[in-house]
Amino acid sequence: MTTTEQDIDKKLIPILEGVSDPEIPVLSIMDMGVVRSAVIKDNTVKVQITPTYSGCPAMDVIGDDIKAALKEAEYNSEIELILHPAWTTDWITPRGRKALEEYGIAAPLDAEADKDVLLNGKRIVKCTNCGSQNTRLVSQFGSTACKAQFQCEDCQEPFDYFKCLK
């Protein structure tokens, strides 16, 4: 499934784009790809969201924030958490990837490159501070479940890398 197949009512897009990921505030939940559908029925919006990781503590907050944003636009809403199809980093939009990089989080590489980086120590993740690819994996697990920790060997900047999830 790609983002173009999502069943999201056009009227709702600007509202949903105003809701940001509580852990990565520069990213809207739309750019993150967690909204799978949003349809209006009798003035009630049914929104389906999917977690990035099962234990993502942000999901409850995201649900509440969507409800609040829709309420402001005078819609009632029902939020449903769905697990299938499982979220993948491919659903992060190009705009979302750019926002991540600007925020200091390296955007996910494709699955092959990701494996090379996390398992074989290949140095290709670009430092978000100076752009050097001379970067070292510090830990496969980072500040949140979706990230790994890196450090740039040129400018010494420590930064997060958003792990590829397929």
Binding site: P51, Y53, S54, G55, C56, P57, I82, L83, H84, P85, A86, W87, L118, L119, V138, S139, Q140, F141, G142, S143, A145, Q149, K163, L165, K166
Partner: protein, 251 residues
């Protein structure tokens, strides 16, 4: 309960993740280094997330008003049906990683099969969890290799941990009555079929890590029937303290 077998089957899967998640959570602020500390608690968080999905489903199946929290927090020791392996203590970091590795290899193979379940909720939880558990398995395998093939001391400690935990591995492939019923309905995974490839994979990795594959054929069992080692009681005392002391409290 109408779907008692399904309910018990879900509990059997979820309890493993709940108890292992609690064990890994114990290392929060106590990991050997900051990076491993964060890794262990991330693994714990993934497992708890999966547990929530399972217990939310179990709560729906039970249909008697018990919530996911009631199921997680308010059962007695004999009602937990996790395998003995996951309740073994964090004796040292070698034990923690050996336990994780011995469980992860099983867990990943189990989830791959559970994806094919005729029950769509279980299959969805499995396909979500596989992505997370693949990371866990990489992490714990790496550490078994690194410590096994490290210094003389790290090798000794990892060997000791593997030897001590080996006795709990066979139980992973035992079937309860609920397991058998669910396999017959195409919902459950036939774990007996996972056994050979499990031991093959684990042995290969241990050899790569310059560790001896234990030869002992004496295996402990009981967890799946609610008969636990002494360690579980202490864990539950901590896990359940808040809900038992202040019933129905919320954040």
């Amino acid at each position: 309960m109408k779907n008692e077998n399904l309910y018990n089957y879900i509990l059997g899967i979820a309890d493993n993740s709940l108890i292992l998640g609690q064990r890994m959570g114990e290392l929060c602020g106590h990991g050997p280094t900051l990076e491993t500390d964060i890794a262990c608690t991330n693994i714990s968080l993934d497992l708890f997330g999966q547990v929530r999905s399972y217990f939310q489903y179990a709560s729906k199946i039970a249909g008697d008003g018990r919530t996911e929290d009631d199921i997680a927090m308010l059962r007695k020791e004999r009602e937990y049906i996790n395998v003995l392996l996951v309740e073994q203590p964090n004796t040292d970091f070698a034990y923690t990683m050996a336990r994780q590795f011995l469980f992860d290899v099983y867990h990943l193979a189990f989830l791959v099969e559970l994806q094919k379940s005729a029950d769509l909720t279980l299959s969805a939880i499995a396909s979500k969890s596989i992505k997370e558990v693949s990371y866990h398995e990489r992490f714990s395998s790496d550490w078994v290799k690194r410590l096994g093939d490290g210094t003389e001391e790290s090798n000794t400690k990892m060997q000791e941990a593997i030897d001590a935990l080996w006795t709990y591995t066979d139980e992973l492939f035992h079937q309860t009555e609920a397991d058998k019923a669910m396999v017959a309905e195409g919902i459950g995974v036939d774990v007996t079929k996972l056994k050979d490839s499990y031991y093959r994979h684990v042995s290969e990795l241990l050899e790569e890590a310059t560790l001896q594959v234990p030869e002992s054929k004496y295996f402990q069992k009981g967890g799946k029937e609610g008969i636990h080692t002494e360690h579980l009681g202490y864990m539950l005392a901590e896990l359940q303290y808040m809900q038992r002391t202040y019933p129905n409290m919320e954040w």
